[in-house]
């Protein structure tokens, strides 16, 4: 089992809360104590005895042939233990699995894309590792890395997604094109919708490259065991039980021989750390070569320039068909997603937006078409929202533009097209279902809130007019935005499936990954639960202890929660896609039932009566006739005498869509299935300084609904954090590139993260519409703010600048001051 830190008894939970329900309370987290006292053990804190340290030699060219790698001087350094190059890997290991291995071009020729942990013949982005150096400490390893002499023959590079489609520079000669995937999905009859509508509104919008940029960089400690020919890898990878295949397949070992363990404390991930397998593999290979533990700590510059951690980078062309009366009739989405140098594992983030294709609007006919292109930039990975955030942004932009072209109030236009509560559960044209919610009421509520600001507040007409005199334009534009939750896993390999065959694929062929949870009664009468998923600050341990306490009628302090490693845990979907509130709570209810059943069976056998004659209550099993009771401690002792521990139970909670026929179409056609739809309306009041182009968010109002709130404190925390990341995305963050592929943001001086000075005061209200599809009524909340805040900030900027009649001022994310200044200047000329 994992050697990570279990929760500890927490003094906060006192007897006064006894017998009340803990679920639904903002219970402070059990994780906090160890963190606050400096005792949490993050991956950077793990340094086994005898450990060596790895540093990487990285390409400074965006595209070049590697002519020669001279390692002699490095190897001559007295403290050098090993230098690994791409050649060494090819002799012994495999390439890393990529999202698309074989590309079939229009003329039918097939080519393959291989990505190795170290490049050998060609480098394809700045920061791509070409050699690994292992030495006694990190300082020395970096010294020695400088001694590795790589001769490059630089080639032309392409760093723009749209330009890459021309194939003038091809990133992978082996496939001969940069467009490695393309699909056009049609739902309903979009052609007719566009033909018959009174207007067709068109717009172009772009979403720059951003990412999660967790404060903790990637880290790995790998140890090879010679006796068993197997590996132990501690690392802060996300989804360690799902993406461990990227590690063991690269190493060429069986899953059981590569034990991947994630510490209980991970310093943020937001999706991005699922792509750090390169480091895991390299440290493992070095450890095998040297028969000593090898540690790698990524530094911030590596993380930003070549850490395989960038996210979506899209150019959209959107079309909306609308009638004179303001009815939305058709949607046409076309975009290019620039994937960087390799099509990685989370390639499916181009498809996830299908789960919220039309956001909160009724639009029955739609096209969704994309080109997935490669360029000489760092490869993309997942990020909070998983590709939904750019989609919602582009959609809200075209909706804004349509309202303007129709001369309608943009809020009225939105309201008129919202899905009504009596249409729920609502089936989207793309076959996913929304579970529940009253979207018009949410829009009304946020409107009421900002109405108050119009009367003597931030939006008081007199104040707004006076500010305009100073060149400061205020505005706000709310909308209702959906957060799809709880991914069904089967759609995620759609791109690798024979698409023709999907039309009539039997529903029975679909696999769904459930959430696994274990619970064990311990000798002292406490219960220990084991999560199969990793966690990076979401409070999973707290959530499980609080729910399990309710189910077992114990106190949260009677429950400890620990983690399983990748070998002990079944292959799991885990912590992603806003899944955990729903999946962990469902699993907790199930595992508690299993444990109660086991306790009753043990007691019944002990008393030699049938299980009907015993009942579990309040931490003990009672005989129905009231003659005797057995405490948990006693039951543990009795159970320990048996051959098999019956009080060690596990439970798999099925994906909530599994039993709903309504999801069958989506499942069998491998379209994204997200059975919960948390939603909310935002109203960020923004002020744009038309002289500097700077945007100040004066206040961020939001009304949100995530169904049952299991722990309101955690729910709000997730929303705050998501909104803050959304603010960064909307206004500050971007991985810019020069035309030749040189990255422009390689330190935190250039990649601007929002500080306390950038994030506005957030005023949040909640409504609760439980999900009819989930056991606890919870919907996911992990990605919300990041999905909705950029769109809302952008529409509010448009609203603020409305009087200047600038054409779609926020047509680009981030809406940087320079971009806004140039838009405003264009208009004035």
């Amino acid at each position: 089992m994992s050697r990570s830190q279990p929760t500890e008894t927490d003094a906060d939970v006192t007897a006064e809360t006894e017998r009340e329900s803990f679920t639904g309370q903002g219970l402070p987290r059990v994780e906090d104590h160890r963190i606050l006292t400096g005792r949490a053990e993050y991956i950077h804190d793990i340094t086994p005895e005898n450990c060596l340290h790895m540093a990487l030699v990285r390409s400074m060219h965006a595209h070049a042939d590697v002519v020669e790698i001279d390692t002699s001087e490095a190897e001559a350094h007295p403290e050098c233990e090993l230098v690994l190059t791409g050649e060494d890997l090819r002799a012994e290991y495999n390439p890393m699995p990529t999202g698309i291995e074989t590309v079939t071009t229009d003329d039918g020729t097939e080519g393959t894309i291989e990505e190795w942990s170290l490049a050998a013949d060609t480098v394809r982005f700045v920061g791509e590792p070409v050699a690994a150096v292992i030495a006694t400490n990190r300082y020395v390893a970096e010294d020695i890395a400088d001694l590795v002499d790589v001769t490059y023959d630089p080639k032309d590079a392409v760093a723009d997604g749209l330009a890459a489609r021309e194939d003038e520079v091809v990133v992978h000669e082996s496939v001969g094109t940069n467009v490695v995937d393309h699909e056009r999905l049609e739902f309903g009859d979009p052609e007719a919708a566009f033909e018959e509508a009174d207007h067709v509104v068109e717009g172009e919008f772009s979403w720059g490259r951003i990412s999660g940029v967790p404060l903790e960089t990637a880290g790995v400690v790998a140890q090879y065991d010679d006796d068993t020919d197997s590996f132990d890898i501690d690392c802060n990878i996300q989804l360690h039980t799902l993406v461990d295949d990227t590690i063991y397949e690269t190493l060429g070992y069986d899953a059981d021989d590569v034990r991947v363990n994630v510490p209980a404390d991970v310093g943020g991930s937001y999706g991005t750390k699922i792509a750090i397998h390169r480091y895991c593999c390299l440290a493992a290979m070095a450890s095998k070569a040297l028969d000593r533990p090898v540690k790698f700590e990524e530094d911030r510059i590596e993380n930003l320039q070549g850490g395989d951690m960038h996210c979506s980078d899209r150019e959209y062309r959107m079309r909306l068909a609308v009638d004179d009366d303001g009815t939305m009739c058709g949607l046409d989405v076309w975009f290019v997603d620039d994937f960087g140098a390799f099509p990685r594992y989370p390639i499916n983030q181009v498809l996830k937006p299908l789960s919220v294709l039309t956001n909160s609007y009724v639009i029955e006919d739609a096209v969704y078409e994309y080109d997935l292109v490669l360029t000489n930039k760092t490869s993309q990975t997942a990020y909070r929202g998983f590709g939904v955030d750019p989609h919602i942004y582009a959609l809200e932009m075209i909706v804004d533009q349509a309202a303007r072209e129709l001369g309608m109030d943009p809020t009225e236009f939105r309201r008129q097209n919202l899905i009504e509560p009596d249409q729920q559960p609502y089936t989207l044209p793309s076959k996913n279902l929304y579970d529940s919610g009253d979207y018009p009421a949410t829009l009304d509520r946020i409107e009421e809130i900002i109405e108050d600001e119009r009367d003597g507040g931030l939006l008081d007409p007199e104040v707004v007019a006076a500010k305009r005199e100073e060149g400061k334009y205020r505005g706000v534009q709310p909308s209702v935005i959906i957060e799809p939750g709880v991914s069904g896993s089967d759609w995620t390999d759609r791109q690798r499936s024979d698409r023709e065959a999907l039309a009539d694929r039997p529903r029975d062929d679909v696999d769904e990954l459930p959430e696994h949870l274990r619970a064990q009664l311990r000798e002292d009468g406490t219960v220990r639960a084991y999560l199969a998923t990793d966690s990076s600050g979401q409070g999973h341990q707290t959530l499980v202890s609080q729910l399990l306490a309710d189910e077992l009628e114990l106190l949260p302090s009677d429950i400890e929660v620990d983690y399983l490693d990748s070998v002990d845990a079944p292959t799991e979907y885990g912590s992603a896609a806003s899944r955990m509130a729903v999946m962990l709570s469902g699993a907790t209810v199930g595992v508690a039932e299993a444990l109660i059943e086991a306790l009753e069976a043990v007691a019944a056998d002990h008393w030699e009566v049938s299980t009907d004659e015993v009942a579990y209550r309040d931490g003990q099993v009672e005989r129905a006739d009231g003659s005797d009771t057995l405490s948990l401690t006693e039951l543990a002792a009795i159970d320990a005498e048996g051959e098999k521990r019956r009080t060690h139970v596990s439970y798999n909670y099925d994906h909530p869509a599994t039993d709903f026929e309504e999801f069958d179409d989506a499942f069998s056609q491998k379209l994204p299935v997200y059975p919960t739809a948390a939603f909310g309306a935002n109203a960020p009041i923004v002020e744009v300084d038309v002289n500097t182009g700077e945007v100040d968010i004066l206040k961020f109002y939001t009304v949100r609904d995530c169904g049952t709130m299991l722990n309101p404190m955690i729910v709000e925390g997730q929303a705050h954090g998501g909104i803050a990341q959304g603010v960064g995305a909307a206004l500050l963050e971007e991985f810019g590139y020069e035309e030749n592929g040189q990255p422009q943001a390689i330190t935190l001086f250039d990649y601007l993260l929002p500080s306390i000075e950038n994030v506005p005061e957030i005023e949040m209200e909640h409504t609760v519409t439980p999900s009819p599809f989930t056991v606890t009524g919870a919907k996911g909340v992990g990605e919300g703010g990041m999905i909705d805040a950029p769109a809302s900030i952008a529409t509010s900027i448009n609203a603020a600048l409305e009087p200047l009649e600038v054409d779609a001022p926020a047509d680009q994310i981030p809406v940087s001051p320079a971009h806004l200044r140039s838009k405003l200047r264009e208009e004035r000329q």
């Binding site: 987290r29 606050l36 006292t37 400096g38 007295p78 404390d265 955690i714 954090g721 001086f749 306390i756």
Partner: protein
């Protein structure tokens, strides 16, 4: 420190320093290039000192040196020779009870992944020592050198305000 130079004559040059870390004197021979953050983390086992950027932007490595906060990734251990350093490990009382700032962070959910937390707690400590009753603007200025990627800051304001009340009592 043992920058084990494998016996070679031209091994790394080291300098002997003594730093008082959370009340205990630590004497070590260190390379002049050893960052104070690494000295604290690896030579003194104060893992609560986190490094997020190693170039002075994120504030995760914030500690107090002679009563003033410094970003320990921006200075070298040799520069702190003779100094008194306090890290987050030095805050809780002997009996394990949390410092009011730690307590307030816990109660207001001002931490998620917690990687930034030691830095924020130390920055808040200096702020409250200088200004026991800060306004929101003063908190903003006091914490502007630290980045938190998880919490969105709102709860951090609340934590500092709550800690200020507690410390007044």
């Amino acid at each position: 420190m043992s920058t084990d130079s494998t016996g070679s004559d031209d091994g790394p040059v080291t300098e002997e320093i003594t730093i008082t870390v959370n009340g205990t004197d630590v004497t070590a021979a260190v390379e002049p290039r050893l960052k104070l953050s690494d000295f604290l983390r690896y030579e003194c086992d104060q893992h609560g000192v986190r490094v997020g950027c190693e170039h002075g932007v994120c504030g995760a490595c914030t500690v107090q040196q002679d009563g003033r906060t410094v970003k320990s990734c921006l200075s070298y251990a040799v520069q702190a020779d003779g100094a008194e350093i306090e890290t987050v490990e030095g805050l809780a009382a002997e009996d394990g009870s949390l410092h009011p700032i730690q307590e307030a962070f816990h109660e207001t959910h001002a931490l998620q992944c917690g990687f930034c937390t030691s830095g924020f707690v130390m920055a808040a400590k200096e702020l409250l020592e200088e200004n026991p009753d800060p306004s929101r603007e003063e908190i903003e200025t006091g914490l502007a050198d630290n980045i938190c990627r998880c919490t969105g800051y709102q709860n951090i304001y609340e934590a500092v305000e709550r800690a200020a009340e507690r410390m007044e009592e």
